[in-house]
Amino acid sequence: MKVGIVGVGWFGFQPEVVDYSFREMMFKAAQRAYQDAGGLDPRSDVDAFVSCQEDFWEGIAISDEFAPDPVGGAMKSVYTVTGDGLQCVGQAYMMIKSGLFDVVVVESHAKPSDIVTLNDVMFFATDPISVRPLSLENIHALAALEARAYMDKFNVSEEHLDAVVEKAHKAGSKNPRAVYASPGRSRPDTPVVADPLREADIAKFVDAAVVVVLASERVAKSFNDTPVWVAGAWWSTEISSLELHDWAFPLHAREAADGAYTQAKIADPAKEIGFAEVDNRYSFKELQHIEALRLAPRGMAGELLADGAFCPGGRLPVNLSGGALAEGVPFEVHGLARLSYAVAVMRGDIKAQVDRREAAVVHSWRGVPTTTSTVAVLRI
């Protein structure tokens, strides 16, 4: 049973959406996704809805209470996954493959602008006994530790990070929803936040909502003439104890990618994949994730990127959207942001500098202190 993406809608991608509540943002993204899916009626055409959200991002305990109404799911089968939106896509993919569901809607929303104490909230995700009492003033320090370990082990230089930042802002300037894209931004001129990370290495947060409609092969064409097929979707959690994870290399992304490639029967990703959208909420993460996804040998992504291999129009463009560095990080929406951009490129809705649009890989990571990645392989 093949599973296709038949509708995508988004709303927001602004530093602060002041006029609309998160529920209203969900509604607007859903309206657009259903329109994109040939005017699908969620009240009669959808079998189940999945919302990706976390209580502490919402400031509401049991926040799935608020999931049904804005997406047309009241008195229907709705549930939440406390994970990145791409993990919800993975659930929908399984649900449809089981044969019990034909149409599943995936939703995620984020309103970081509503959180007054963001660093504290993010720190609540660390181990309550072994790490949290340290009360780091800046949680990005945890990412800086990873950056240093990676750069030392694989001889990655600050110039490589400069190149990632430059590429992101250049590509992002062509992406209308990349509000933080600032062509010409020079990484070395920004202050150090936590060595080796400078301000320009760290993606900012953004308010956004994305809704994606998935359908079985049997019904997909009745909603959309050009479905984008999910050829594989897999995820992995490396470990819960940050202290014990591999500081220099994101094994979780590698494990997730290998699972997705196996399902998609992709033997040599660097050759078979046309373009990629990966997590780059920190500049060095883009390099790590390129390697974890086997698009470059370990430790080589920096050099290849500096040579233009992953730039728009290059051998294998990565983050044609500019990624999180240009669009911002909308919490758990992030994977769906990457997915929705890839879908638009594959369908030709976005004219991007890419030679091969027929196979793409999409990746998300949930940020520090997590060690969870999800990877999806898309085909047309």
Partner: protein
């Protein structure tokens, strides 16, 4: 629903279950509790963690543990490291939803053996009181400023049910008495009360009328786990697999002040979905034993009616007549339920699935129901009185 519900490629079975003690305070961390339950479930199935392909985790509000991204944190104890682990969440209804999600992990053909783990540690949030955490459950704009206690909404639902169906407190208290007595047969039970009477319930502390102390399940720490497997694997693992025959769930509108609380329509819809899949058209006759969610005594009655195990307003009558006793015609909550065993939210829901598993295998020992049982049901409930999750199992 456009789905077809026929002949799935992969049948899915439960092949092992595990449970910790349920207590108001347990020394173990949430990770350790998850591990204890997971280990017992694996042992019972004769498997090790290496055999497991995927992990599904359930836990209710993050604020209890005070841990953000609790699924990431629990992955380790739940056996979900270096594996695909996912945490699913439908508030109080989560416990029964964990094996529902695990079902499609297997039914999709993408995982062969799945560990489903649910954990809750409510004692962490002890100050000023565990119930304070529930304040964050209300709508932050139109409800929380009224400084509510969560028991309010359940009391409102209970009272509306009593009003619409003409039910007396004495009849509702019978549920609490039955379940707290049943719990004495359960090795994990927190509140075994062999001598409790209706009078004791009616004389217990009045919290929010009509809800009194013994109408409510206690706050608890605990964990539960089950192992699911594809048909091929299940036959290799055990001679007595218990098949998952039907799954269903529904979320009603968030806006609970706009609808009638006397009847749980969301449970009816969830049950219909599960019954359609299981080929059940007369649940009262075809379900042999059931574990409806009973965080409050009236909820057992409410849910029996939503599940079609009783007609509207009929559940108190069946209870009074003894039909729902362990030796009755339709044993309800033979485990002791949340009222007796305790209510570590998500773990309590999964405990019910474990109970049906043991009852159908004839392994419930002291609490084995008298009549022969072939088909059982577990159900949970949550959110702002809006979520219903149902699983039908059979041998």
């Amino acid at each position: 629903m456009t789905s077809r519900n026929i002949n799935f490629k992969h049948r899915v079975a439960v092949v092992g279950a595990g449970l910790t003690l349920f207590r108001s305070k347990l020394l173990e961390t949430p990770q350790e509790l998850a591990w204890l339950a997971a280990k017992q479930a694996l042992d019972e199935a004769g498997l090790t963690l290496k055999d497991i392909d995927c992990v599904v985790i359930g836990s209710a509000p993050d604020a209890f543990d005070g841990v953000h991204m609790k699924g990431e944190y629990l992955a380790e104890g739940a056996g979900g490291i270096h594996k695909p682990a996912v945490r699913v969440f439908v508030g109080g209804a989560t416990g029964v939803f964990v094996p529902i999600a695990a079902w499609w992990h297997v039914a999709s053909g993408l995982c062969k053996k799945v560990l489903a783990v649910a954990e809750e540690k409510m004692s962490h949030a002890a100050r000023p009181h565990t119930q304070y955490v529930f304040r964050y459950i209300w709508d932050p704009i139109v409800e929380k400023p009224l400084n509510p206690n969560l028991i309010w909404i359940f009391a409102m639902e209970m009272h509306r049910y009593m009003y619409k169906c003409g039910v007396k407190k004495e009849d509702i208290a019978l549920v609490s008495v039955k379940n707290k007595r049943n719990a004495c047969g359960h090795p994990s039970a927190q509140l075994c009360m062999p001598d409790i009477t209706v009078d004791d319930v009616l004389k217990s502390e009045v919290l929010v009328w009509p809800v009194q102390l013994y109408d409510i399940s206690p706050t608890s720490d605990g964990a539960a786990a089950v192992v699911l497997a594809s048909e091929e694997e299940a036959r290799r693992i055990t001679d007595t697999p218990v098949w998952i025959k039907g799954i269903g769930w529904t979320l009603d509108t968030t806006h609970w002040t706009n609808r009638d609380l006397a009847y749980p329509e969301y449970v009816r819809r969830a049950a219909e979905m599960a019954y359609r899949m299981a080929g059940i058209d007369n649940p009262r006759k075809q379900i042999d034993v059931a574990e409806p969610y009973d965080p409050f005594d009236y909820k057992e009655l409410h849910h029996m009616e939503g599940l079609g195990l009783a007609k509207k307003c009929e559940a108190p009558v069946l209870t009074r007549e003894g039909v729902t006793q362990r030796d009755g015609d339709l044993p309800i909550n033979p485990s002791g339920g949340l009222l007796g065993i305790g209510n570590p939210i998500a773990a309590a829901g999964l405990m019910k699935v474990a109970e049906i598993f043991w009852q159908l295998r004839g392994e419930a020992g002291a609490r084995q129901v008298k009549k022969p049982v072939y088909t059982g049901l577990a159900q949970a409930w949550g959110d702002l009185m809006q979520a219903g999750t149902v699983i039908v199992m059979g041998v």
